[in-house]
């Protein structure tokens, strides 16, 4: 690939992987659905970073388009997520995901 980059591509991959990992851990450890959603956003954005980097590397604008797409979808998801969390809070009077476990078995 083109060595013209000030920063080697590998670093972007590393950065993205770290962000992604943090996102995953966030989903696992946090109990507040909103924070979980934010962790998921983090995962998405990790992907965005990769898209951007690779788009630059390949000189392919498809990657940037993809990134915009992801951002949009993420926004929509956040909106819906918020709505659902509110709805859950209405019915369960809590937003702690460990409390919300009427369905099991």
């Amino acid at each position: 690939m083109t060595g013209a980059l000030p920063v080697a591509l590998g670093n972007y991959v590393a950065l993205a992987s770290v962000m992604f990992f943090i996102g995953v851990v966030g989903v696992l450890v946090r109990r507040n659905p909103l924070v979980m959603l934010m962790s998921i956003e983090l995962m998405f954005n990790a992907a965005n970073v990769l898209f951007m980097a690779f788009a630059r590397a390949w000189l392919q604008n498809a990657g940037q388009i993809f990134a915009f797409l992801v951002i949009t979808v993420a926004a929509a998801e956040a909106a819906i997520g918020l709505a659902i969390v509110v709805a859950v809070f209405r019915s369960a009077a809590t937003v702690d995901v460990d409390e919300v476990r009427s369905l099991h078995g």
Binding site: V24, V97, R101
Partner: protein, 662 residues
């Protein structure tokens, strides 16, 4: 495949009529019994008589000898492709047909009187006719399968007739025992048939005998063994004899026809029929002769220990058949067959005579409770006397000739031990038969004596049936004279039981020998050290000894004086070995019946539900348990689910990292 027939080819339709008439009677009596009522008896007797007439008419055809083949043949149908059925009437078959239909007709007549008033009168005659038909099938068949079919059907008929009073548990048990033991015989014959078919690919007697020389010796021995198992079961040879005494549960005419005159001698017929096989296998001859002698002796010994009049006769039958088997076994075929012939008459006569007594005494069968009947039942006395003299082999009476033929034959064919056994048994026979005669007819009537004074403590050990024949239902009059319908046949039987033996007089050129010319293979006989006349003398001496002992014990003045005390002491002191009939029943019960039932109980109660089903059940349970395990994994905790997801993802990532790294 070639189908060789014995008897001259061509058709002899008369034979079919002779064979099927009794079947017709059976069907009619069965189907229209309620409508026929008493007429059923006459119908049945008439049809059996008719086939007797036909048998007489077939004399010429049966004895003709054309081109070395004897008798007449009528082919019936192809049973299965390659295996054909036919009827064969040769002297041997003819003799049996005579006895079956002749004696059979007489006993049918007798039964009309004896069974008079029984609820199932018609059914009885249906069974009797069916038996005659089956027996004719047995002796007229020209092949082993046909013979086996007849073999099975006579067993069935005997089962029906033993269990005729099916509300008597003892009768039911006796019937089952008889049938099962006879099936043992059937499978023996089946096994022999498999060997024969495997060797000659035919079931015809002709093919089987034509190849007699070609069998390997062990094969031939196995064939003979299988056939003899059949013969032993049917003819109550040791150790398959235990059913015969119990079979006396049936009505007395049944005992006379089936369990004395005809069916039980089927074994003799079978061996005589298969003479070509036996005569070339010394081991088989040895085996059969020994078993026969053993049975003759054993039957006689047990005969001395019985109190039930019919059981005494049963054991004597067993013993006499032992003689016949011994005769045909060692190779004295004419002698064995001759004894069958004479025995049929005098034993039938003895049974019918005892039937007269039982009938007159309202179903009393224990001779200890009889006595002094000579005055009360003179006719019965005469009948029994003649019968006893005949069976003892009194010179001039029939058995004298036939029995001597056998005993001398054993010596001729080189079996001195069997010779000795024969002579000894003759003496024992004289003893127990005269014992029967004396205890029954001499002295004073003991019917009024309290049974316990006569030592009748354990009826089952004494071999008494739990209750006697319930027929006829009118047990009111005590000694009422039997009707002529019962006396006539017995009277007729007296004649042959005295004179039948004369046919055998004159050795090689006796009418008997002429009748059977060419029927049996002629074995090379050794000239024994003792002449035939001497043998007769020895036998007769032995008989006299036995008679003397019997007279001393039962007919002497002192004996008759305190008969009750003596009978009591004798029955109380009866050795356990004898009163338990040498423990044959117990042994069979323990070895076969109990063990099979034990196995069945184990399989049914343990193996099936717990071992086999248990395994399956466990598998099902563990599957369901895994299901509940998965339920418990489904905690409902969102983060737990996420963890599972990520765990799976991690596995994927590892795999792909490795796969991509390559």
């Amino acid at each position: 495949m070639i189908h060789h027939v014995m008897g001259n080819d061509g058709t002899y339709p008369l034979l079919i009529a002779l064979w099927l008439l009794p079947l017709l009677g059976a069907i009619l009596c069965w189907g229209f019994g309620p409508w026929l009522k008493a007429r059923a008896g006459w119908l049945a007797s008439a049809l059996v008589g008719a086939s007797f007439v036909l048998a007489v008419l077939s004399w010429g055809a049966g004895t003709q000898s054309v081109g070395g083949t004897l008798g007449a043949h009528q082919s019936l149908l192809s049973w299965i492709p390659g295996f054909d059925f036919g009827l064969l009437l040769d002297p041997l078959a003819l003799l049996w047909v005579f006895v079956i239909t002749g004696v059979g007709a007489l006993i049918h007549l007798y039964s009309i009187g004896y069974m008079d008033g029984d609820a199932a009168f018609a059914r009885f005659f249906a069974y009797m006719n069916f038996f005659v038909f089956a027996m004719l099938t047995l002796v007229l068949s020209d092949n082993f399968v046909g013979l086996l079919i007849g073999w099975g059907l006579v067993g069935l008929a005997s089962y029906f007739l033993i269990g005729f009073w099916f509300f008597k548990p003892s009768a039911v048990a006796a019937a089952r025992k008889a049938f099962v033991l006879n099936v043992v015989g059937d499978v023996g014959i089946m096994f022999a048939i498999f060997l024969i078919v495997a060797n000659v690919h035919s079931i015809g007697f002709g093919d089987a005998f034509a190849a007699a020389g070609s069998y390997a010796t062990p094969t031939l021995f196995l064939i003979c063994l299988g056939l003899f198992v059949g013969a032993a079961a049917k003819s109550a040879q040791v150790p398959l004899h235990t059913w015969l005494p119990d079979a006396m549960e049936g009505p007395t005419p049944v005992s006379a026809l089936i369990h004395a005159a005809t069916m039980v001698t089927a074994g003799v017929y079978l061996i005589a029929r298969c003479a070509p096989l036996w005569s070339v296998n010394a081991d088989a001859q040895m085996l059969v002769g020994t078993i026969g002698g053993l049975t003759a002796l054993l039957g006689a010994i047990l005969g001395c220990a019985q109190w039930d009049i019919k059981r005494i006769l049963a054991y004597s039958t067993m013993s006499q058949i032992g003689y016949m088997i011994m005769g045909v076994g060692v190779g004295a075929y004419e002698g064995g067959v001759a004894h069958f012939f004479t025995h049929a008459f005098f034993k039938a006569q003895l049974f019918l005579g005892s039937g007269l007594i039982i009938h007159a005494l309202a179903n009393e069968q224990d001779i200890r409770r009889m006595g002094g009947l000579a005055k009360k039942l003179p006719y019965a006395f005469v009948v029994m006397l003649v019968g006893v003299l005949a069976i003892c082999g009194t010179p001039g009476f029939s058995a004298f000739f036939s029995k001597d033929m056998i005993i001398y034959g054993t010596l001729q064919h080189g079996h001195p031990w069997l010779y000795a056994v024969g002579i000894l048994t003759a003496g024992l026979t004289a003893y127990y038969m005269l014992r029967l005669l004396f205890v029954t007819f001499l002295g004073s009537y003991r019917g009024a004596v309290d049974p316990s004074d006569l030592g009748i403590r354990h009826p089952e050990l004494a071999g008494l049936p739990s209750d006697g024949d319930p027929a006829p239902q009118d047990a009111t009059a005590h000694h009422h004279a039997p009707a002529w319908i019962m006396n006539l046949p017995v009277g007729i039987l007296i004649v042959p039981s005295i004179f039948a033996g004369w046919l055998m007089f004159g050795g090689a050129n006796s009418p008997w020998a002429h009748f059977f010319a060419g029927q049996f293979p002629v074995p090379n006989v050794v000239v024994p050290p003792i002449s035939e006349g001497a043998t007769s003398a020895i036998v007769f001496a032995c008989v006299l000894v036995g008679a003397a002992v019997a007279a001393a014990r039962y007919a002497s003045k002192g004996a008759l004086a305190d008969a009750v005390a003596r009978l009591r002491s004798e029955s109380v002191r009866m050795p356990a070995l004898l009163s338990n009939r040498f423990y044959f029943d117990a042994a069979i019960d323990a070895l076969c019946v109990r063990s099979a039932q034990l196995a069945g109980t184990f399989f049914g109660r343990v193996a099936d539900p717990h071992v086999i089903d248990g395994t399956v059940r466990e598998a099902a349970i563990s599957a369901r348990w895994m299901g509940t395990l998965m339920r418990s994994l489904q905690t409902g905790l969102l983060r737990a689910y996420a963890l599972i997801l990520v765990f799976g993802a991690a596995c994927f990532i590892v795999y792909y990292a490795l796969a991509g790294g390559r």
